[in-house]
Symmetry: C2
C-alpha cells in the first residue's frame, strides 16, 4: 500500500510550532511513547535478563537495519545499527584502508561534517603509517581521485548548504582509480532516495535522529556491500560482532554476516525508540518524499526571494543539486533565527551566517511553508537585531 | 544521610522472582518509567532540538559521570559517559600506548572479559607496529609486568568466578615497572567499594547495566586520572570531545576536560534511564553495600555447601578475594539453571559448568538467599536432567 503525504497525524508536534529542523533532530512519532513504556516496564522490568531473547533485543540491530536498508536502497542483511556515526566512520575508514594497503590517502572535502574528518585523522594518527587526509573543495573531488587514494569519504548532502554530491558518478570515478568509497548519509537517509546497491559503493554510514526521527542520540547505521561482508575487517572487534558472542572464546572470530560490524552491547532502549519511530515509513515511497520535498523547498525559495530580499540563497538553486534542506545567508542570521524560534518557527543557524530550513513532507505541507515565510518576513521587518535590549536578553553578541 | 539496606521499595521486581542476575542486567528502578516518559514526551516531543540546552542533554554525560564517580572513588570531573565498554576499552588502550611509545606489550589475563582482549587486539592490528597482547593466568599478572609492558589491562572482578584482583598492588607494581594501568570495573561499580583515586591508576572503564541498574544497553563510563586529562590523546576524536563542538572547526582540538573522551552524539534517552536509575544510590555508602554483600554471599555459600553437595564452589572462599558474585561448578549446571529460572530464581550460566549468582544488597536480603537455596535444593533433588522429555523442551543438549 502506497501512502499519501503528509502524515502529520503520526507525529506529536507541539501546538503553534512549525518545525523546520528535522535535519537536526526529527520530532516525536506518536508510536514511540507507548512502545518505550512497554520496553521499560514489561520488557526490562518484567523479563529482566530474559529480554535478550524473549523481547528480541539481541536481534534488534539487524532487524532495525533491514528497515533502514529499504529506505536507502540497500539489500536486507547489508545494514546493522549501533554506536554513533562517528564510531561507524572510524570503523569503515579502518576497513577501507585495510582493503588498500598500498595506498596512503583518504580523500574528503570541505563540505564534510567535521567529526568525519576528525575520526579519520584520529585513526591515521593511531596507525602512524604515513596516511594523510586530503581535503578539497566539493567541486574538486572527482578530479582529485588518483592512484594514491585508498578511500573517498564524503557526506552526500552538505550539512550547511544542502548541496548534494552525485553519488553514482563519484563512486564510479573512485572505482575507476581503484579507490574504495564511504558515503555518510546523515542528511540523506529519510530525506532523499538513495540507491546504495546501485551505486556500487563499498561502505555507507549514517545517523537516525535527523530525517528518520529516532530521537536524541538514536544509534547510527552502517552498510557494507554484500559481496564484501565476509572479508571486511571490523577494526572495532567487539564481542557482539563475534561469530559466537556467548561462547566467550579467547580469540575474535568475526560473524559471517553484517553482524561483524557490531561492537559492544547495543543501546536497547534507545534502539526501541528508533524502531517504533521507523513505523511512520510503512508504505512510504522515497520517490514521493522527494517530489514533495522539492515542491516544498521550491515554494519556500520563491516565497523568501519574493518577500525577504535581505536573504541570499546559499543552497544550489537546482533541485537536483540539493538534499532536503534550504539555507539562506543573512548577516543577522543568528538573531533572526532566535526570533523565529521565539515565534514557533524552528529552523537553525550555522556559522557564520547560514539560516537552515529542512523540508520534511511527512509532517509539513505547503501551508506550513507559507506560514513560516510569513513569520520570517515579520521578523525581518521588525529588525530586532537593531535593539540592544533584545540582543542582550537573547545572548546575541 | 546514610541509608540502610535493602531498598527493595525502589525497584520494580516481578512477583515471585528472586533476582540473582544483577551482574548481567540490573532490575528496573521505580524512578525510571516516569522519568523516561517525561524525557520522551515533554523533552524530545515538547522541546525538540531545544532539548540540547533546555533539558540539559549536552551536559548529561558529565553530570551522570560525576554521580558514577562517587561510587568508584573518583573525583568529580574525572568520569564521563557514553558509547559502550568495548569502545571505551579501545579508546583507553590507544591512549595508554600513546603514553608509552617505546613499549610494545599490553598485558592482560585469562580472567578478562573477551571483548576487552578483542578490542585491544583489533587496535594493535590496526596500528601494525608490532604490539602484542600478552595474556597470562590471573595469579601470574604481577610477576609478568616488565619493562616491555606499555599497559596492564585487567578486569578487577572475574565475570565467571568473581575472583578479585588487588587493584592497588597491581597498579603499584605496574607503575614500578613504568607501565600504565587500565582497569575494567564492569563487575565492580556498584558491587564493591573502589578507590580509583587512591589506586593511582591512569584509566578505568566500566558498564552501567549490571550493578548500576541502568537498563539494557546503558552507556559505559570512562575515567582518566585528573593530572593526565589535559594531555591524554582520545584516539576516537569525535566532535563531542572537541573543545568547541558547535564551532565546526576544520581541525580537532580536544576539550581541556574529561569531555575529550566523548566521541559522538550521546544516547540521550538511554542515558536518561541511567540517570534516573542512579538515584537509588543517594545516601548509600559502598562500605555498607560491601558488608551486606559479603554477609549474603557467605550465607549462600554455607547453605549451598550444606544442602547441595553436588555443587562445588568455584569462587574464592575468602570474601576479600571475591567481588559480589558467587559461582558454583556443576556438571548439569546449564539444565539446573534453566530449572531454577523456570521457578523464578534467576541466576545465569557460563560455560562449561558455572552457575553464577550475584548478591545485590539493594534489593536482596537474607530471606531471599535462603529461599533461593530452598529452590536450588529442590531442583537438584528433582534431577530434571535425567528426563529426556524435559531436556528436549528446554533445548538442553
Amino acid at each position: 500500500m502506497r501512502v499519501s503525504l503528509p502524515r502529520k497525524d503520526l507525529f506529536d508536534i507541539p501546538d503553534g510550532v512549525l518545525y523546520l529542523d528535522g535535519n537536526s533532530l526529527g520530532p516525536l512519532p506518536r508510536a514511540v511513547p507507548a512502545r518505550m513504556a512497554e520496553a521499560v516496564g514489561a520488557e526490562w522490568g518484567g523479563r529482566l535478563i530474559r529480554g535478550w531473547n524473549d523481547a528480541g533485543w539481541m536481534a534488534q540491530p539487524g532487524r532495525v537495519g533491514d528497515t533502514v536498508a529499504r529506505l536507502i536502497g540497500a539489500a536486507p542483511g547489508s545494514v546493522t545499527m549501533g554506536d554513533t556515526l562517528s564510531v561507524k566512520v572510524y570503523q569503515t575508514v579502518a576497513a577501507a584502508l585495510a582493503m588498500r594497503p598500498g595506498r596512503r590517502v583518504v580523500l574528503s572535502d570541505t563540505g564534510n561534517f567535521p567529526t568525519d574528518l576528525y575520526m579519520a585523522e584520529g585513526l591515521m594518527e593511531t596507525m602512524d603509517e604515513g596516511h594523510t587526509l586530503r581535503v578539497v573543495p566539493p567541486e574538486d573531488v572527482a578530479g582529485a581521485i588518483d592512484d594514491t587514494v585508498a578511500a573517498v569519504m564524503l557526506t552526500e548532502v552538505d550539512y550547511r548548504t544542502g548541496r548534494r554530491h552525485d553519488m553514482a558518478a563519484i563512486t564510479a570515478a573512485a572505482h575507476e582509480a581503484g579507490a574504495v568509497t564511504i558515503w555518510d548519509l546523515a542528511h540523506s537517509a529519510g530525506a532523499i532516495p538513495v540507491d546504495l546497491a546501485g551505486s556500487g559503493c563499498e561502505f555507507a554510514v549514517g545517523c537516525t535522529y535527523k530525517y528518520l526521527n529516532g530521537g536524541p542520540g538514536a544509534p547510527a547505521f552502517v552498510y557494507v556491500r554484500p559481496d564484501l561482508i565476509e572479508s571486511v575487517r571490523p577494526a572495532l572487534a567487539g564481542w557482539m560482532g563475534h561469530a559466537a558472542p556467548f561462547a566467550f572464546e579467547r580469540g575474535y572470530r568475526p560473524a559471517p554476516s553484517i553482524e561483524r560490524m557490531r561492537v559492544g552491547t547495543p543501546p536497547v532502549l534507545q534502539m526501541t525508540a528508533l524502531e517504533a519511530a521507523l513505523t511512520v515509513w510503512d508504505g512510504i515511497d522515497m520517490a514521493d518524499i522527494r517530489a514533495a520535498s522539492l515542491a516544498l523547498s521550491e515554494r519556500f525559495i520563491a516565497e523568501v526571494e519574493a518577500r525577504c530580499p535581505a536573504l541570499t540563497l546559499a543552497s544550489p538553486r537546482e533541485g537536483a543539486g540539493r538534499g532536503s534542506q534550504v539555507s539562506f545567508a543573512f548577516e543577522h542570521g543568528y538573531a533572526a533565527m532566535q526570533a523565529l524560534i521565539d515565534r514557533g518557527v524552528i529552523g537553525d543557524f550555522r556559522a557564520p551566517d547560514l539560516m537552515r530550513f529542512a523540508f520534511t513532507p511527512l509532517y509539513l505541507d505547503e501551508g506550513d511553508v507559507i506560514r513560516s515565510v510569513d513569520v520570517l518576513a515579520e521578523v525581518l521587518d521588525g529588525r530586532l537585531w537593531d535593539d540592544p535590549a533584545y540582543l542582550s536578553v537573547k545572548g546575541v553578541t
